[in-house]
Point group: C2
Chain length 364, copies 2
């Protein structure tokens, strides 16, 4: 498949980028046959990971989306990466197609890179999850520290499609790669079995599942637990003023629909947890504001190479907006690693608190 | 004080209106010395009720806003009206300066109108509260049915200022007018006594208080309970998509600040009630949508005169927006009254539910 890079560059839908002397291009927007996040290294294409649509109710959506059987895999709460060997070195690409300095630095901790000796054109697709990551405050509950990689798909360079399910499992096993849990093969009418698994995942505070038809270009859909919706609300309290009201409402609706689907109905415990999700973040923001006159979250992650931590800070600063500022706290040696700490500061929430707490009159 | 109506009309800050053969003008925007909501009948001016600013923490705001003593009165959860006799008949004006067909129809039930025989230029300012009103879903907990008037200020025609506190109480007593509770006179440092009253009001699910300096043009400020903030969230679930995110966040912050002020801290019960406030409305919306494919609230109120009910429907239809439609259900005789029922329908929430529940994929 040919990728028309020149045309995309002219239309400003692709751009040039560099990392440690490596020059590449990435698609910052969808183009015909080329999804956003696609990266091109010397004519070698690593296709973007396609967006997966969400269903809000298993019934009737599974039957509407899937004519036949599908595999059900766990959806891990982390950030999406594609890992490939390009120009002789393994790199990790973000969803947007940038080389991630953090993930790339830590690749030897995340997976057995000898997979690329046997399969040099393989693209490993997975989720990086864990508390010590530079992007997300939330984290899969089963990763206690640092980060781990959970592989869920393989592609090949210059090919937009995923390897079939059987081939994927053979590769996972052969190279001992950690993968997202595979719950097996189901049909659109196995609602009871699917619901039972989701109830268990919900009880363990896990995010949800992805349904994948095992066919070239097969359909896919994701579905999340009610606890995942509550967790989303909790972790976004600080950027709440930048989000559209739909953000919260659709999560509360997902939650209500999940309960409906499970025949569970409302409970006081759930109401309490939803209320706490809204309150916790804002109460913490107030506490911070009283103590330090600013509202921020501290992130921490560790690197093998000092210069990659510096690349990461530059990368994040370029991505900062007027709604979220970035401020480095420290970069220090701890054992074999360099530990980076930085804050995301939220000027809009800060401004609102300033106004509310000044003792002046509010007209609303 | 002269009101420059001509200039305001030219600037489209005032407009003409009629009610039952009565012609008048109202200020739809603030003008110099003339607040929004001011109405002019044949050169007689009924000034708009001024907006009262809100404080979010008694400490330090009371000391910042008030140099000396002030009266503390209950803030009643209802809608603001000004009642005056113009061209020989008593009418009730909304906050925006329109004659309210409902309140005007029910004036003889709400107060002793002989006050205008003795004091023809009096303007009675108060809150109409109760479950059977055409504007609000929420209602003061101490009005069990229909509506009641709670007077909290007097003005005179052609004068923008309020009568002093002593004169107000003399008039209330003389004409047996029901008034908002007056908790007495306090100073900015009587924080303990003020907090105790607010804790009691909160326990009774009441809205809050207004602080009023007893001097010509004296300062005023309002302060609400945490339960009032929860109630606001509950009653706005249906119009949630039209409200800015600040609406919810500032209420959750008020709630956290009220607890701080009371030295109460967080509680599971409060978290649960906040969560329920978000969930109740949306769960009800889903139930309605499943059963009737539309999301609406039904209002009910009763009139002495059938034609006033019809005026009210026209008035509300003119005020409806693309976000809220109005649909009459019924108008029927019950005893001495005509009972009007109508629905407010919420097309934006309706559209979102349609999209979420279609069984299709959502990309968010």
């Amino acid at each position: 498949m040919a990728v028309d890079l020149e045309q995309a560059l002219q239309a400003r839908k692709a751009r040039h980028a560099t990392f440690e002397g490596l020059h590449y291009h990435l698609f910052s927007d969808d183009c015909p046959d080329v999804p956003r996040g696609t990266a091109v290294f010397d004519g070698q294409v690593v296709y973007g990971y396609p967006r997966i649509g969400r269903i809000l109710a298993l019934n009737p959506a599974l039957a509407e989306q899937f004519a036949g059987p599908f595999w059900m895999e766990e959806k891990v709460d982390g950030y999406n990466v594609r890992i490939a060997r390009v120009q002789g070195r393994a790199v990790a690409l973000t969803r947007g197609g940038f080389i991630c300095p953090f993930t790339t630095d830590r690749l030897s901790d995340l997976m057995d890179l000898s997979v690329f000796d046997s399969e040099p054109d393989l693209v490993v697709c997975g989720e990086v999850a864990g508390p010590d990551n530079p992007y997300l405050e939330s984290s899969a509950p089963f990763v206690a520290e640092d980060v781990q990689l959970f592989v869920f798909d393989f592609m090949r360079r210059n090919q937009a499609e995923f390897l079939p399910h059987g081939r994927k499992h053979a590769l996972l096993e052969r190279f001992g790669l950690r993968s997202a849990r595979d719950f097996g093969r189901f049909g659109p009418h196995d609602l009871d079995a699917i619901r039972t698994i989701l109830r268990e995942l919900n009880g363990q505070m896990r995010e949800g599942v992805v349904f994948k038809e095992d066919a070239p270009g097969g359909r896919r859909a994701k579905y999340v637990t009610s606890n995942s919706s509550i967790s989303d609300i909790r972790t976004t309290a600080y950027s709440i003023l930048e989000l559209p009201p739909e953000y919260f409402i659709s999560r509360i609706l997902r939650l209500v629909l999940f309960l409906d689907e499970q025949g569970l109905g409302r409970s006081n415990v759930l109401d309490e947890r939803l209320g706490a999700a809204f309150m916790d973040g804002l109460a913490e923001a107030l506490r911070q504001f009283h103590a330090e006159r600013k509202v921020y979250h501290t992130f921490r992650c560790r690197f093998r190479e000092r210069r990659n931590a510096q690349h990461m800070v530059s990368h994040l600063k370029r991505a900062a907006t007027r709604h979220v500022h970035l401020s480095q706290r420290s970069l220090r040696r701890e054992g074999d690693y360099w530990v980076l700490e930085f804050d995301r500061v939220y000027p809009t929430l800060n401004g609102l608190l300033q106004q509310l707490l000044s003792g002046g009159l509010m007209f609303d």
